[in-house]
Structure formats: C-alpha cells, structure tokens
Amino acid sequence: MRPLSVVVRTGCDFFAWFMIVFGVNIVIHGYMTPGGGFQGGAIIATFLAFLLVAYGGKKVLSWVNEKIYEFLFEELGLICFFVLALLGIGNSFFYNFLASPLGAERTGIMSLISPAGTTVFMSIAVGIEVTGALSLVIIAMFRGIRQFAGPSLPEEEIGHDR
C-alpha cells in the first residue's frame, strides 16, 4: 500500500494516539466497567491497522518490531495470567488471594490494590495478550498479502487510492 494523502496522515498523527489512550483506559477500568481486557486490547491493536492504512506498508513495517509483540506482549500477557491463577494455588486454582470482602479494613500495601483483587490484574494481562495477538495477526497478514501474487510481482507497491 502506498501512503495516503497528507490530510489523512496528519489526521492519523492527531488521532491515532488517542486510540491507545482510550484502549488503555478501557483495559485498566475493565474490572468495573462494561468492557475489559479483550475489548481494550482490540482497540489498541486497531492503532496498528490505522497506521498501516495511513502510512503504507513499507514505512510501518520498518517501524514495527515483531519480537516486541511476540515476546513482550503476547507471551508476557499469557504468562502473567497463568502466574496470577497459580499464585492462589494454596487454596485453589484461580483463588482470588488479593480480594477482601466488602467493608474490610485494608492496611499497608494492600490499601493500594483494589478490593477486587486479582480480577484487576487478570483484566490487564488479558489486555496485554490481546494487544499483542491482534497486532501480530495484522502484521502477519499484511506481510502475507504479496506473497501469493506470483513472480509477476511489480517492484512498486500497488496503492488503492491513486
């Protein structure tokens, strides 16, 4: 894909970052609002699709480091989720060891954590994982588009806007 016109790119510069802010907001408040990890992660992954449409494939693929999405995002999120589930293994798998009942006094470091306990962190972990997963799908599919075009592939990228 060629980059789109300068109007679109400027609009992308303005608004793309708000997608990340909005998605992170949804992920972090996922434990008490409608929404949650999966939805927020999908919104954050939309950021990459937006950049891909506005700036074209060559530029975005030179910006993106797939390893970050692979290891830092997807696997870290999944591992965090499993570890959080395993930490309560003294009682049972998925035991919410950070939660406290309604009205209970929370002291020390526990007062910094929401009484919802591990559901907050699990929501964030799922958000990280979904971000990495959907971004990886977008990158892999974009790389795969031109792979099946055959040997008569033109050198220049083919745009759909001009």
């Binding site: 008490m32 999120g77 589930a85 919802a116 929501s123 799908v137």
Partner: protein
C-alpha cells in the same frame, strides 16, 4: 464378535442416555436457581467488584478465560504458520 459387543454396548449406552433424559429440566424451567442466587448475593460482598460479570469471567469462571486466551494464542500461531515467508525466500 467385536461387532456384537459394540452393538450391545451401544444399545445399553443409548438406553442409559434415554433414561437420563428424564431428569432434564423442561425448556424455560431451570428448576432451582442456586448458582444465580449465589453469584448475585456474594460477588459484590466477597469481592467488592462493582461488576458482577467481571467477577464471574475472571474469578468464578477463570478457567474458561484461560481457554479463551489459549484459543487466541493458537489462532495467532496458525496465522503465523499460514503466512510465513516461503518459496526459498525465508
């Protein structure tokens, strides 16, 4: 001989399933609502989540959510395998 054993065990299993169908609640009548009442009464009290859905998805049914995460991981692996660089280009 194997075939007869298979037929007999299939008939027995079918009869057992038909017998078990007697105990299924009729459509629209779930019988007792013990689980629903438990969640509605206790998820706010014991977890203080403002959102009962979150407490069910990430706490009471967390194992289901692990399955979902694994499904997503598998899907990404499949996409990566399908769209990998091929044809000696690597």
């Amino acid at each position: 001989m194997k075939k007869y054993i298979f037929i007999v065990s299939a008939i027995v299993l079918g009869a057992l399933v038909c017998g078990a169908l007697d105990n299924v609640h009729p459509y629209g009548d779930p019988g007792t609502a013990l689980m629903d009442d438990y969640f509605l009464a206790n998820s706010y009290k014991s977890l203080s989540t403002q959102n009962i859905v979150t407490s069910i998805v990430f706490d009471y049914r967390g194992f289901d959510t692990i399955g979902e995460a694994a499904v997503l991981f598998t899907a990404v692996c499949a996409v990566g395998a399908l769209f990998r660089e091929g044809r000696g280009r690597r």
